[in-house]
Symmetry: D4
Amino acid sequence: MKKKDIVKLLQDYKQGTLSEEEAAAKIAEVPFEEMQFAEIDHHRELRQGMPEVIYAAGKTPEQVRDIFASLYSHSDGNLLATRASREHYDKVLEKVPEAEYDETARLIYLDRDRSLQRDENHQILILTAGTSDVPVAEEARLTAYLFGNVVKTCYDCGVAGIHRLFAHLPEIKAANVIIVIAGMEGALASVVGGLTDKPVIAVPTSVGYGASFKGVAALLSMLNSCAMGVSVVNIDNGFGAGALASKINKLR
Amino acid sequence: MKKKDIVKLLQDYKQGTLSEEEAAAKIAEVPFEEMQFAEIDHHRELRQGMPEVIYAAGKTPEQVRDIFASLYSHSDGNLLATRASREHYDKVLEKVPEAEYDETARLIYLDRDRSLQRDENHQILILTAGTSDVPVAEEARLTAYLFGNVVKTCYDCGVAGIHRLFAHLPEIKAANVIIVIAGMEGALASVVGGLTDKPVIAVPTSVGYGASFKGVAALLSMLNSCAMGVSVVNIDNGFGAGALASKINKLR
Amino acid sequence: MKKKDIVKLLQDYKQGTLSEEEAAAKIAEVPFEEMQFAEIDHHRELRQGMPEVIYAAGKTPEQVRDIFASLYSHSDGNLLATRASREHYDKVLEKVPEAEYDETARLIYLDRDRSLQRDENHQILILTAGTSDVPVAEEARLTAYLFGNVVKTCYDCGVAGIHRLFAHLPEIKAANVIIVIAGMEGALASVVGGLTDKPVIAVPTSVGYGASFKGVAALLSMLNSCAMGVSVVNIDNGFGAGALASKINKLR
Amino acid sequence: MKKKDIVKLLQDYKQGTLSEEEAAAKIAEVPFEEMQFAEIDHHRELRQGMPEVIYAAGKTPEQVRDIFASLYSHSDGNLLATRASREHYDKVLEKVPEAEYDETARLIYLDRDRSLQRDENHQILILTAGTSDVPVAEEARLTAYLFGNVVKTCYDCGVAGIHRLFAHLPEIKAANVIIVIAGMEGALASVVGGLTDKPVIAVPTSVGYGASFKGVAALLSMLNSCAMGVSVVNIDNGFGAGALASKINKLR
Amino acid sequence: MKKKDIVKLLQDYKQGTLSEEEAAAKIAEVPFEEMQFAEIDHHRELRQGMPEVIYAAGKTPEQVRDIFASLYSHSDGNLLATRASREHYDKVLEKVPEAEYDETARLIYLDRDRSLQRDENHQILILTAGTSDVPVAEEARLTAYLFGNVVKTCYDCGVAGIHRLFAHLPEIKAANVIIVIAGMEGALASVVGGLTDKPVIAVPTSVGYGASFKGVAALLSMLNSCAMGVSVVNIDNGFGAGALASKINKLR
Amino acid sequence: MKKKDIVKLLQDYKQGTLSEEEAAAKIAEVPFEEMQFAEIDHHRELRQGMPEVIYAAGKTPEQVRDIFASLYSHSDGNLLATRASREHYDKVLEKVPEAEYDETARLIYLDRDRSLQRDENHQILILTAGTSDVPVAEEARLTAYLFGNVVKTCYDCGVAGIHRLFAHLPEIKAANVIIVIAGMEGALASVVGGLTDKPVIAVPTSVGYGASFKGVAALLSMLNSCAMGVSVVNIDNGFGAGALASKINKLR
Amino acid sequence: MKKKDIVKLLQDYKQGTLSEEEAAAKIAEVPFEEMQFAEIDHHRELRQGMPEVIYAAGKTPEQVRDIFASLYSHSDGNLLATRASREHYDKVLEKVPEAEYDETARLIYLDRDRSLQRDENHQILILTAGTSDVPVAEEARLTAYLFGNVVKTCYDCGVAGIHRLFAHLPEIKAANVIIVIAGMEGALASVVGGLTDKPVIAVPTSVGYGASFKGVAALLSMLNSCAMGVSVVNIDNGFGAGALASKINKLR
Amino acid sequence: MKKKDIVKLLQDYKQGTLSEEEAAAKIAEVPFEEMQFAEIDHHRELRQGMPEVIYAAGKTPEQVRDIFASLYSHSDGNLLATRASREHYDKVLEKVPEAEYDETARLIYLDRDRSLQRDENHQILILTAGTSDVPVAEEARLTAYLFGNVVKTCYDCGVAGIHRLFAHLPEIKAANVIIVIAGMEGALASVVGGLTDKPVIAVPTSVGYGASFKGVAALLSMLNSCAMGVSVVNIDNGFGAGALASKINKLR
């Protein structure tokens, strides 16, 4: 029930083509779901500047292509398809030739939103423990970038060679939000958490073997971090970390 | 090596009581740990306004009393002892009679920092699924308050009666950061995550029985949230959520 | 916004004390949550005849007493407080002297709803594997009874002495819904599931030791039942099984 | 020992070709297993209208073909082979050319039973959280259809965009039994359980990654649902949910 | 339907007081459950010489007393109540003053069956890794003894001091069945399994700490034994091991 | 140190070519490991009639071929290579053309030991719950046969259709040792355990899906069996069950 | 068979009171277990200087007293009873008044071995992450001391405040073996492992809550340490770490 | 800030081109990270003789080639790339033709360091339980060799045939450090730990099936070893064991 419909109802009532009883009933019956949509649409405005996101895993290339193309024509913002394979990308190209693909991050994306203002004074920093964590980090980086942030990265600064981490103290101090990505024992999150007063988003990765149990060791380690200000997202969830970092980074 | 020591060194060198070789050696030997402390102290200034925190669990009442009293006299900020029992509190009272105790939140605290400016336009909202989650919520609430935030709470609005949650949509919209606290299946985090664009900190609680496995069901549920912008802290970790929410809430 | 409020709004508008703009705005702003409550109240009518339920665990005796007393005076239906201790009961008695207590089932209840029509042709049958499963079974039985069902029970008919189960084939055939309650290896659910075409609700119990892991062995066993028509509720969740059985049993 | 055998025995005894001793012994020796079969056959009649089901996984295409063909000629009802691959289907076609195959649901089936009366007033509703849950949902839908039910579906209405779910409130109210299918955190089951008084069958799916542990997170979430009236079947067990929903839906 | 009932039926039929139709129907309707009992009773004879067993855990002292007393008067065999506390025993003494109690093994028992012939040539040997495993071992020993076996024991011969085990090689060679009881890493089962050709029953115990997880480490170790001829019972299940060892030891 | 060496030593000593001191020292130094081998060799005689066994998994076809060929020429008994692929078999054939291969059981074997006396009065019975359990069952069956036993099998008699099991009561009564093989919920072990007084060896299989966790559900179910006389071997360990059953079956 | 027995045997043989046949048989029959003990006794000499150790947990105070007293009189070395309560100690005092008790470390001990030479150039360093880890650390410290080592400790230097750790770099460099004790996320082990080239023994502690799972998080973290040279002992196993550190520290 | 920079600073200050204030500030600002590197470089000298190590898993062949080549030209020590495939090796060969490859150990290596002095009196012994453990053992062996140690191996001496282990007692006694590698139940670590006073490094392997859970059973077994002096590294972590053994073996 859009505003013009309400006005029409009021006028019909005033003119007597709608009885009081009828008008009251119509108002009381405003379909629940429409209210919801109104509710949500209002929300949507708040989301201005956020990319539309497609979770490609479990969807066929054709499905991703069609959703991507549909979002392409119905919005002006950035577009993002996560966990996408090259097969997905090839199909998307059929309908959206400007689409780009980052193989490491497994993201199909369209970087077209000129309204985004990336603020150099509010940087997101991404740290990884090792080079094997880079794909997850790149997913986080590109996500945060497409959400309109300045993103810095320092890869391969795990705690076993702690001087490599300390070489990046200036970046740590400069950051507004920090994403720490680590597999194996995930100790980097605690050490970084102790070096900053900014919020730290920890991403366990499935990197490791044996008793790392595909990221469980790092996940537990991060959940139990003795440092204040560390929270955790799902294993390998670079996209989630990037999106959350953006939400936090845009608070004023 | 404080500044006056460095100046002294330079003067000794100029006056010739210290050879160039000796002076260079001394500078090169600046004890690593002191540099560290300097580094950290610099940090400390950034932390201004943050309470000093004692983790009381696993410490004797006497230990907590002495640390509390020591912090009491060496700082002007708020003080906070988490996971504290009444036995801890009774001992603390011996040396710090102004200390207060919140039995539900299991916090001993001193709310004395007049420099804190609680900003009504940056509110932290705490939602719980049930009444059994309240102790964890109170720990988060009091923590965030002592860290200098305006905190609002809506308890007992779990998803099984979703109208109770929706009655609080205005508070959800008004919040800058949201803490969602839930045991059992922890579904509240996902629903709230879908209703807001602000960061959501999810706290699984050990509330529940059987296959809730003391919070594991809620923890996994929250880690796998289909909503964007949700991160998770340890089971029952109300303090951690409150401190992190404060860090995020103070970003500008 | 109740109906009279809507009528008032319409009249104000007609009389000109409310401009069209204002009236449209007010209608558009019908508080979301009120709509929700309306929605829910409609639901409530459907729930007619269902007892009001309080989950007592994690609530103080005073809290349970006050909620119980409040429901007592605001409804005419049966009342039920689950996982209640004798301390809870003693407090409830202060305000509701007619309340009864079943120590085995840990239920405080009020059996006063005379509108309930228990249908002998739609029986719920509860089977347990051993005598240690009886407390969970009694919780299910009394719940289903207070929800308005005829409930039959056959306790201690585990599969290791399968003749004890077969002696109850007539009851199994006569039942409309069957609840199977078992700890240890939980095999009873599969055997019963193979003997009936009616829905079987399986309740794993924490009975057992060693590698039963407080009900996990039975839970997994029941989830993997090779029999068609078996579903599972949480470990020791007698109340949940009783309530669900009632919902199913009342379908026509 | 069929009825004519018993009559023969009685007649032999009357005519003296069988002594009393011999007759009594024969009766006492009625083979246990035959009684059992009689027992079961009586059951079978109750099952009238239920399809014959083959679990194809772990069987060779030849085995499935032969069993399918055998059931085809010995019964008039619907036939169903679950977890079947296209290889299975190709073989089945050799002997039963009318057989159909649903690739998404992985079901080979024969929809020939004209005696089934699908009752529009007793609908089964299937809800999924995401599009990745659709294969499990289709398995449930086709199963319930072949068992003789009217089945409605609403896919992709997970709780992170709760308005999508609320748009389907009319279908939820119209349903007699509801199947909720969700992976990741499985929160949909609790939300739906709070919106209906009908039984809800929850199916966790292995959709998700990281700490979803192939459906375990959703499984635990659903078992711990705070909503009344929710029970759970095995991970990805669409067939089980469909068959159980049918059993419940046919109760009168 | 006992034999005399069948004979009566036949005679009634012959005399015409029962029509052929009626007689055939009655025979066809021989209650399923009675057949079962007959079946079982036949079994019972095979069980001759086996003690009657009560699982006391989860039963009240009064319940154990009454069952014990009932078995006492209805049989002549040995009696055994497992997982029994002294409270259980005190109550049993009220009705069965001859009952004995073994506090270590937590067994109430009556050793009165003079028909048992303990065969010195068929010995059961019980080995434990440490002294903490002794309560479980004593439960196994006394069980096997009351079932009518000669039982030998060698306690505290864990593999970390393997000479202690080797000192018992003669007993190992002399045994017909061996029970190995160990907590911690449970390695004793594999070593013994490699030294004998007789069946080895491994009992993991909950002895240990940390990552022993209350017997899980030993359980997994024993299940994965590289030695041929080792099978496993539940954690701490001394009774089960003793009863199974007796079953095996009596085979001829 | 063989006997002739000892005699030589004694003679040298008597003849004085070896001093008392030297002789005593030599005896004291009898190499530990040789004693051990003697010990073991003595054992070996007890093992007479047992096949030599090679665990093929993790060995190259060439390795299996060479070990098989070596055992072939150094013994007269049966030979057995478990978990063997066709590639293993093809290589074995190069050196031992009489070797046979059972693809279902994944066993390469040589059935040549004419000294084995299979005793019809001591039968091993193998029961499976479903047809998917057959490969494990066949591994057990062929193993037990090659160890010199009469083996009977009843496949596909799971508890969901319990009449199929009861049709085999005569075989159950006739057996001396019973192997029960089941995946999913593994309930068959408990039901069979309640129907027999003979030892039952339970083998969980990795058959199933979802929360069966590759045999863990069945494993836990079997470990927690409420029936007396059931022990368990590792998941899918058909060989272990067959070898243990043989050890038990040969006891007299 | 001690040396004099062998000499006696040889002499008897030479004198003819023992035939060659008899002598050879006796030598061949040297009881296996005695050889073993000899073997072990030889070992024992290597162990010179190691304390005798009693594991008190699971033993009665009387048992601990008697074993302690027995070791007291049969050796001259240090004595140590681990996991001992004050009740154990009170009993030990009855027979060994010089025994001491360390309540934090839960050790009863006797520090009397004057032959131990504690080498200042081979120090063991014990680091803990927090103060709650101190009891485990003290168990390790006192153990290593009683085994004859110089032990240094730095408690409460967890990674969240990494400057506290770096203040101890000189001690880290001075150490020959390092024990790192930490609960929660156990990250200290990796950081220390990266700062030293000496072996690091990591001890996870059960300190923490929620998803620390009583030390499992720290255990997994330490097993997956990205630093080279870290190995792990059981949760809370301070004694094990101390004893192993001593073994390593004494290598030359 | 290298030494010449410090000298320059001092001279500038003395000459007055730098004020006291400025000089003091510069010294205080000595970049943290440079100090760190200095610190670390000092460390590096201690590491003399240790090979450079690349973890190849998760790196592309090109990446491994380039790092390998870079280390090749910048150091004189041995080089080692772990978890390397033949594809990695083929690429490495393009730039470092002298590189060798061990397919079993999956190591690319360069054995060129002539400064290493392998000490025959300090041997590392590697024992495996079975032949399937050999790849992990070879990784440990080659690692320890390239680190400059004399390494001995005894493969396939698992506890089920304990005489095979005892045949190697001389090697066990001769060793300075022992690595025990075992899958399945991992019992070998405890037995060896009981036979030696030297440190034992236990490596669980993922060898086994069913309830071995890819090495978890062996891991738990080893962590719970009842033998003193056993510590554990990650599942299949042969490199870690070899490097740690080398660290221990080089202590004097």
